[in-house]
């Protein structure tokens, strides 16, 4: 089983929503489409599902060209950001609805709905109507409707975006387990890099209608093909600075920071990308370099501290564990983990490997 997009392009009037795209999704994988709002994730999913036709290009499923094949005949299911359920049906009837339409007999419906409901912790609310449920339960119902069908392709379009923090964390942990023993391809669209890391599988970074990079999630994260992919896959945003390398010495072009590096690249000008969690108020890793900064903003996010600071003309973001109290305007010293630097050449391509 596989889903392949061949040169798929989508234009609406003169505007290009998806540039010619090639991607092949394999059986039993979870594939994350990672990109900001309006990057084209939803359009891609609708094309994959058959809800929308590409302007040009083909969609192949299991070696069959399914371009233009109606969605009802494709055995797909989809879960949306909004909690979409039939408003006048009970939870049970909602979950059963895709089976009823395809004419599954009632004993089997009962058994399958019961199983899925248990999996999604809905057994106690089968008789309730969607508007009597919390947002999390409504979305669980929608997920159950998608799972009960045994679809070949399950599309999840930012399914957790409308949930509050705690429910999101909870459901996010459960999600990969739900698909573990299923013969299907899962596509999961999100704007959050942390979602992608948590879910694992494969990730495609998307920007402005183009797939920048597709591969195993950790590979894409650790070895972004280029600066764009690295930026899409970094939250808080990645720190980027111009450097000059000569011999085994690298320094920021304003000479403020200097470090030894054993990356095997030619001498010259580069850019480095440093993820915020690799700049910390304490030493981490075997190979650190100090940077002096003036604190702009210091904020707590859960049990982590986000410190924005300036060094020379550049604004930097750092992310440290624990509660690190800093005053605005304070001059402070931070440590950068040199081994985690990403080096990009003049064409913004990655030249080292972590």
């Amino acid at each position: 089983m596989s889903l392949e997009l061949k040169n798929v392009e989508k234009k609406v009037e003169i505007e290009t929503h998806i540039y010619p795209t090639n991607i092949k999704l394999e059986k039993n994988t979870i594939n994350v489409l990672l990109g900001s709002t309006l990057a084209g994730k939803t359009t891609l999913m609708q094309i994959m599902a058959g809800l929308d036709k590409p302007t040009s290009g083909e969609i192949w499923f299991n070696g069959e060209n399914v371009t233009g094949k109606q969605v009802q005949k494709r055995n797909v299911s989809m879960v949306y950001q909004q909690f979409i359920n039939y408003p006048s049906f009970t939870v049970y009837e909602n979950i059963a609805s895709p089976l009823k339409i395809t004419g599954v007999n009632s004993d089997e419906i009962k058994e399958r709905v019961g199983k899925v409901a248990e999996l999604l912790k809905l057994s106690a609310m089968l008789d309730k109507k969607p508007d009597e449920l919390s947002g999390g339960q409504q979305q669980r119902t929608a997920l159950a409707r998608a799972l009960v069908k045994d679809s070949d392709l399950i599309l999840l379009d930012e399914p957790l975006a409308n949930l509050d923090f705690k429910l999101r964390e909870e459901l996010r942990e459960e999600l990969p387990k739900l698909f573990e023993d299923r013969e299907c391809i899962v596509v999961y669209a999100t704007t959050e890099p942390s979602d992608a890391l948590m879910i694992g599988g494969n990730t495609a970074t998307i920007l402005e209608g183009k797939i920048i990079q597709y591969g195993k999630t950790l590979d894409v994260y650790n070895k972004p093909k280029n600066l764009t992919s690295a930026k899409v896959f970094s939250d808080p945003p990645m720190n980027i600075a111009e450097i000059f390398k000569s011999g085994d010495t690298c320094k920021l072009t304003d000479n403020s920071v200097q470090w030894k590096s054993n990356v095997k690249i030619k001498d010259g000008n580069y850019k480095i990308g440093i993820r915020p969690h690799n700049i910390t108020t304490y030493k981490e890793g075997n190979n650190t370099v100090e940077i002096n900064g003036k604190v702009l903003i210091s904020e707590l996010s859960g049990s982590e501290s986000l410190i924005h600071f300036t060094n020379g003309n550049l604004n930097w973001v750092s992310l440290s564990n624990g509660i690190q109290q800093k005053n605005i305007g304070e001059n402070t010293k931070l440590f950068m983990n040199v081994d985690e630097f990403l080096y990009f050449d003049e064409n913004n391509r990655l030249v080292n490997h972590g």
């Binding site: 809800l51 009802q72 989809m78 909004q82 039939y86 609805s97 339409i101 009597e132």
Partner: protein
């Protein structure tokens, strides 16, 4: 803590008080006052107790008018609600067609009621009106000034023409508030057009439809101007709905006592029906 005493605040309250008193409380109390008394003019009143209420409730004339009224309201609701939903479903959702449809739909609602009556009166006249003349020309013996059935037909047609738009506009607004994802979900499930309507659109339109039915019920139950201009309640009493009959009694015959009692009964019927209907429709909505 000391309370600040500021008598000027009364200036803010008094206007509303006076307004409500003059436009609601005082007229209503006048009617209540008349309904329990007999008057011969010259400000001479005699106490009659509940006599007028009994008289009205037992009178055949009231029963007939009420029967006609219920039949009329029932028929126009039966036509306008499905027709309105149907038209709303076929209206475009985007593009240049939207403003065109909306303007066309609003037109009948903008015409003064007595003008609607006059228009249809002329339109349906058997000798010179387009509708009346055409119907006769193709072989129907149509004359709404003589035949009760034709009078009903014309009145209902006029009301449908005048008011279906309101149902259309409300339904259209209700339909437009449904997120496209619902339709996609139904499409993925392979739901038929009918199932999509029955299980997504209709439940999602429930609130606006309740409103539409309530508004159409109240307006049609109190209809006066249009049939007054169109048929004057005739031929005979064939289209003498409650309010037409009421005006005949109050102004035509100057029976102020019974007319006042009838007004109150009329008012309570409208109130009761609206309340019962609304409570039934919203019974399951309270929790959310």
């Amino acid at each position: 803590m000391n309370k600040t005493i500021n008598q000027k605040a009364w200036f803010f309250v008094v206007p509303v008080f006076v307004l409500v008193a003059f436009n609601a409380a005082i007229p209503l109390m006048t009617v209540v006052n008349y309904s329990f008394q007999e008057t011969f003019g010259n400000n001479v009143f005699a106490w009659e107790g509940t006599r007028w209420f009994k008289q009205i409730l037992l009178s055949e004339r009231f029963h007939d008018a009420l029967g006609r009224q219920i039949a009329f309201t029932f028929i126009i609701l039966l036509i306008q609600i499905p027709l309105g939903i149907g038209i709303a479903l076929t209206m475009p959702k985007k593009g240049w067609g939207v403003p065109v449809c909306l303007i066309l739909m609003s037109m009948p609602l903008l015409i003064p009621w007595n003008v609607v009556g006059a228009m249809w009166n002329i339109f349906a006249l058997p000798d010179i009106g387009f509708l009346g003349y055409s119907l006769n020309a193709i072989g129907f013996d149509f004359n709404f000034t003589q035949q009760p059935g034709d009078a009903w037909f014309t009145t209902i047609l006029m009301d449908v023409w005048h008011w279906t738009s309101l149902v259309v506009l409300l339904s259209y607004a209700g339909l437009n508030s449904i997120q496209p994802a619902y339709y996609q979900a139904a499409e993925i499930d392979g739901a038929s057009r009918w199932a999509t309507f029955r299980y997504i659109e209709l439940p999602k339109m429930k609130k606006v439809l309740t409103l539409a039915i309530l508004l159409r019920f109240m307006d049609s139950f109190m209809i006066y101007t249009e049939p007054f201009v169109l048929t004057g309640g005739g031929p005979g009493n064939a289209t003498a709905f409650l309010s037409i009959d009421l005006v005949k009694m109050a102004l035509g015959q100057f029976d102020l006592g019974p007319a006042a009692a009838m007004s109150l009964i009329y008012f309570f019927i409208v109130l009761l029906v609206c309340w019962v209907f609304y409570s039934l429709m919203m019974k399951n909505e309270v929790k959310s």
